[in-house]
Amino acid sequence: MSAELLAQVATPVVGHGFAPHWGWYIVLYFFFGGLCAGSYFVATLLLLLGDPRDRDTIRLGYLISFPLLILCAILLILDLGVPSRFWHMVFQSKNVPELMFKPWSPISLGTWILSAFGLFSFVAFLGALVDSGRLRWAPVLRLADRVRGLPRQAVVAWNVLGSFFGFGLAGYTGVLVTATTIPVWQNARLLGGLFLTSAASASYALLVLLLLRRGRAHSDPSVAKLARADRFTVVLELLLIVVLVLTLGQASRPITTGGFGVLFWLGAVGLGVVAPLLLHRTALGGWDAHRREVIAAVCVLVGGLILRFVVVMSPQYPMVPLWAL
């Protein structure tokens, strides 16, 4: 064939996997899953390193984590094509009660991480309920008494182990989308780390927000501590976003250009990362420090949600207008 003729031949699109149609349920699952894992991690870290002033925060972190985990499970079930078969992820449906465990399948791995973390999250939730006096059921109180008798190292190890599973939950969602043949996703190997960092920053922001709402001052040592950690994770998030976009190069276009691009740069980067950092540095709009802290926390949370929305939706629906999603 002549070169001229070859040049005129229309090249069909290279085959690749179809979009799995993961939509809002998955976006919300990624977001709340991150918060669920992150709040547990923050509470555990405070448990290990905090001081008496952090007690409310610890309790809050554990109280938030488990209900969010339940919400995540509901979102995942609703997303299934056949929701009544959700248990097929856990048991071999033709060989009950044999377990269904395929660690090389990110969804199977995620199912087990979620289940295992659920145990840690539930125990911590019960503990926080007992601590706050909201749960006074005798068997649980007896259990709490028993736990009290355990060696400290065992208790520390338990909480740290729970945090490992929490990290797994926050990070595997990013790895899950890379285990596909969808352009953008399959090359974005930093996504697990990015989602994990974003989960931590959103969790710090959520706890700051809740403490401020409960009447704590922005200068309160607990709040200040969380805000400081939040700033660190937000800076790390910015760094990871930059590296991700640079390493993806042209492949990042569905995320960084068009309608999704506007949302990504303004929402995920501008609102979720740059604005909170600026708010800590400058007295914008004459707002006092307390108000700036509140707004920064809200920005981090909204930015975290937008990040997941763009990452999940843009490679699947590059040509679909945002309002149609």
Binding site: A10, P20, R53, V82, M89, S93, P106, V130, G133
Partner: protein
Amino acid sequence: MAKGFYTDTTICIGCKACQTACHQWNELPAVNDGQVELTGNSYDNTGRLSALDWRHVRFIEQFPEDRSQDGFLHGSRWLMMSDVCKHCVKAGCLEVCPTGAIIRTEFDSVFIQQDVCNGCRACIAACPFGVVDVGQDGKAHKCTLCYDRLQHGMEPACAQACPTDSIRFGEVSELMVLADQRVADLRAEGVPAYVYGKEEIVGGLNCFFLLVDKPEVYGMPADPRLPSDNVPEGLGLSALTAAVVAAGSVVAFRKERMDGMGGEPPPDTGPDTVPHTGPGGGSPGGGGPPPGVDLVAFMSAVHGANETARGRRAEPKAEGGCGGACGCHA
């Protein structure tokens, strides 16, 4: 004994007998009740493989855009290819399926068990060839290699219907010998033929093709990747980031102390700066004592450990397990 298809695209005439036979045997209804809009792409009216089209004949017209006959007999040509699930030796769909719905059969084909699939849709994104699709019933569907026919010693409906034997069914190793021979013959005539689906393509395709142009021209990836290829690196980078997040958080939490600003912990404010709303939770917003249970044991235990480690757990054990360090007895 792996069974599969050898599709020789050079003798495909685009009659779509395979598509029709597949629909008939597998009782696949027409898409959108037969109300199909024209794709505008040659004679293609189904567009792609889908939950209802398990065979898809591609039409590739290699002509100048003005449709002039300049190139006629000088390279202008039709390429036709009947696409199908490749029943990969290393199948991405099977790899990621979290329910075990996708299995490898005794014929080495890749089969989706409809009574197990729960519609998580992981397989859709994992197939490098865009084969699997989700149906109206919420479950994943694709070619079964006519598993029911194979069990009765019959060949798949498409292969049986193909009038030119462009689609041949049989033992993969035997089919590959045929394909290699055909490639040699075509090359001897100056046609740049080759087999797409040898080992370098995700471990080999049980349903492979003889092509005469680049794979991309037929809508197939030149270098397909398995989804699992990305997982170890992704997990490793996540673990590394987790370590950085944890280390950074530790530094942020300790900074106050490092700066010497924090000094000794302030007087314990106790737990009840936060309103308790639950039973026995004390008065809202008040400073009432906590309920009968002291701080959850593990909290107090760890707190105690921390304070001891820092050498300033001044108070001996008070009334509860936390030694008062948490303020739960304030």
